[in-house]
């Protein structure tokens, strides 16, 4: 490489470094700074319109005996595990069913994406109406089938979270299907040919070959969905507002209540830092995984 080549590379690098300045500055001001600010006010008793005082770990020790928050964390866990596991299983099943090349399948693959683009708040209001305890269409037909749902799906404490999970499944299974379909299409064909020559049945082929080969895609789909499920807010806000009682109050709703309704900004920040840690841990696993995959 000649000197003039090296100079050209250097010139190119210097020019392109400027391209990275806006996004770096933006992310520092509007992403890193708020997050760090949030971590810091978690150690104060900040309330809106008052000067904050440092109160050390008081928020965190209060949290340990804050039953409402702890319960909201459990509700979050149940929601995420319940929704994501069903979405993965359904997603896998539907991806298999749709993994054929013809016009109809192509149409269905387009069509099933509609829930993912449906404004979540509107989806929530629609399902709320379908679940209406007296007039809702779903309530009507479930009762018609003779299934006992008490005063209604979103009125009974024991049923409300399940009803919300169904909405999330409706909304996000299509994403699973699309990701897993992409994974299925990229599988190598050689192992299948070898297995067929050996006379292996379809079921063992699925469990011994397809599933292990699909593992990387499944893991990525699982991580993406878990991170997004952790953000759930709109549909719950629209359907139950966290009720009945606190049966559908996930951590996000609880934090909103403490920070915005009760104006206890410092304490809400401390609560949200717990979610921050959970999100960052899952996120780092995800990032590590992408690095590994790309070598």
């Amino acid at each position: 490489m000649s000197l003039s080549d090296l100079l050209a590379i250097d010139k190119k690098k210097r020019a392109l470094m400027w391209f990275l300045v806006p996004i770096s500055v933006y992310m520092i001001i509007f992403f890193l700074y708020p997050v760090i600010y949030n971590i810091l006010i978690g150690f104060t008793d900040l309330k809106l319109g008052r000067t904050p005082g440092y109160n050390g770990l008081a928020n965190y020790s209060e949290m340990l005996s804050d039953d409402q928050f702890l319960k909201s964390l459990i509700t979050t866990l149940v929601f995420v595990l319940g929704a994501v596991s069903v979405e993965v299983i359904f997603g896998l099943l539907i991806a298999f069913l749709l993994n054929h090349e013809n016009r109809l399948m192509e149409f269905i693959r387009t069509f099933i994406l509609i829930p993912t683009v449906f404004t979540p708040l509107v989806a929530g209001l629609v399902w709320k109406s379908l679940y209406h305890p007296d007039l809702g269409m779903i309530t009507y037909y479930i009762r018609k089938l003779g299934i006992d749902i008490g005063r209604g799906l979103i009125v009974e404490r024991s049923l409300a979270l399940g009803a919300i999970i169904v909405v999330d499944i409706w909304e996000w299974t299509p994403l699973m299907v699309i990701i897993l379909l992409a994974g299925l299409k990229s599988l190598p064909t050689e192992p299948y040919e070898a297995a067929r020559i050996d006379g292996a049945g379809e079921v063992p082929i699925f469990f011994r070959i397809t599933l292990p080969l699909l593992r990387p895609t499944l893991l990525i789909a699982l991580l993406i969905r878990s991170l997004d499920a952790l953000k759930v807010f709109d549909i719950i806000w629209a359907i139950t507002g966290g009720g009945p009682g606190t049966s559908t109050t996930v951590a996000n709703l609880r934090i909103y209540e403490v920070g915005i309704n009760q104006l206890r900004v410092g304490y809400a920040a401390a609560l949200s830092n717990v979610l921050l840690i959970i999100g960052v841990v899952i996120g780092l696993i995800f990032i590590k995984y992408i690095y590994k995959k790309e070598g």
């Binding site: 992310m27 404004t119 007039l135 018609k144 789909a221 996000n252 999100g279 899952i282 996120g283």
Partner: protein, 280 residues
């Protein structure tokens, strides 16, 4: 890759099972969409009849009502302004950065990528709470700008990630030879790389628009009554209207129509954007 059932009876049983399951799935997916459309065209009174029926009438009264009795034009205007603002802003800071990221090595490259990817991992409530306080200090709380600023955090990151992948798949030889012919790096980016990356640009723009259009939490926490967006406006009337489902449905159709239409028209781009973050 038709793996399931290649022989005789097993094949036809599985085929029947396949058709049945697909049919049920389609009903499950379509039902809320059909319901909202049907309700938006119904008479109010028909909502209180059991058993519930779909498409009992086709009247536009609900649409007329929401336009004449509610501030829906201003909500749509606010939603549009925020969505387009976010889209433009995210492209301006995300696209050149994604390009530079794919073309040069530098110190802190990994750190920048981790920061970008962490935006996806961060629960939105964690960002929105301090954001409110900061916006208040800037005097921006209650403005559309505040919503655009927070939406851009997520969308610029998405654009950056998507575009760096796209530019990586475009060989740099073309730009190098253009540079020998006297193009500077910025010109090479603008006149060679950009035209070659149209699919990525469309995908980025589409996702920024959909993200902002569908947002509720940020609008809820950062806007004021004057700057209310469509989802938020809908919700504020839902309580007042007491069982005003037909009006709600009409507004809902107006909310979902643009995004569903965009995603169907730009289906190829929409799918490639949906698998962001790992599956290429």
């Amino acid at each position: 890759m038709a793996l399931v059932g290649r022989n005789g009876t097993l094949h036809s049983t599985l085929n029947f099972f396949r058709v049945l399951v697909i049919f049920l799935i389609l009903i499950f997916i379509a039902f809320p969409v059909v319901w909202i459309l049907s309700t938006s065209l119904s008479q109010r009174i028909s909502m209180f009849k059991l058993p519930p029926k779909l498409f009992t009438s086709f009247i536009l009264d609900n649409y007329k009502y929401v336009f004449s009795h509610m501030a829906i034009t201003s909500w749509i205007f606010n939603s549009l302004l925020i969505s387009v603002g976010t889209m433009v802003f995210s492209l301006i800071i995300g696209v050149p950065a994604g390009y530079a990221f794919s073309r040069i090595e530098f110190k802190g490259k990994k750190l920048l990528l981790v920061m970008i990817l962490l935006t996806r991992a961060l629960p939105t409530i964690v960002l929105v709470m301090p954001f409110r306080v900061i916006m208040q200090n800037f005097g921006l709380l209650g403005t559309r700008t505040a919503v655009i600023l927070i939406d851009t955090v997520y969308n610029a990151a998405f654009t950056f990630w998507l575009m760096s992948g796209i530019f990586e798949s475009i060989p740099s030889e073309l730009e190098d030879s253009a540079r020998i012919d006297g193009c500077n790096p910025v010109q090479a980016f603008l006149y060679i790389a950009i035209p070659l990356s149209k699919p990525g640009l469309v995908t980025s723009a589409l996702f920024a628009f959909i993200f902002s259009w569908n947002d509720f939490l940020f609008a809820l926490t950062l806007t004021s009554p004057d700057t209310t967006t469509l989802p938020l406006g809908m919700l504020s009337t839902f309580g007042i209207l007491q069982q005003g489902w037909t009006y709600m449905a009409a507004m809902g159709v107006l909310a979902i129509f643009p995004v569903i239409l965009l995603s169907l028209l730009l289906q190829k781009y929409y799918v490639s954007g949906l698998t962001f973050g790992g599956v290429k």
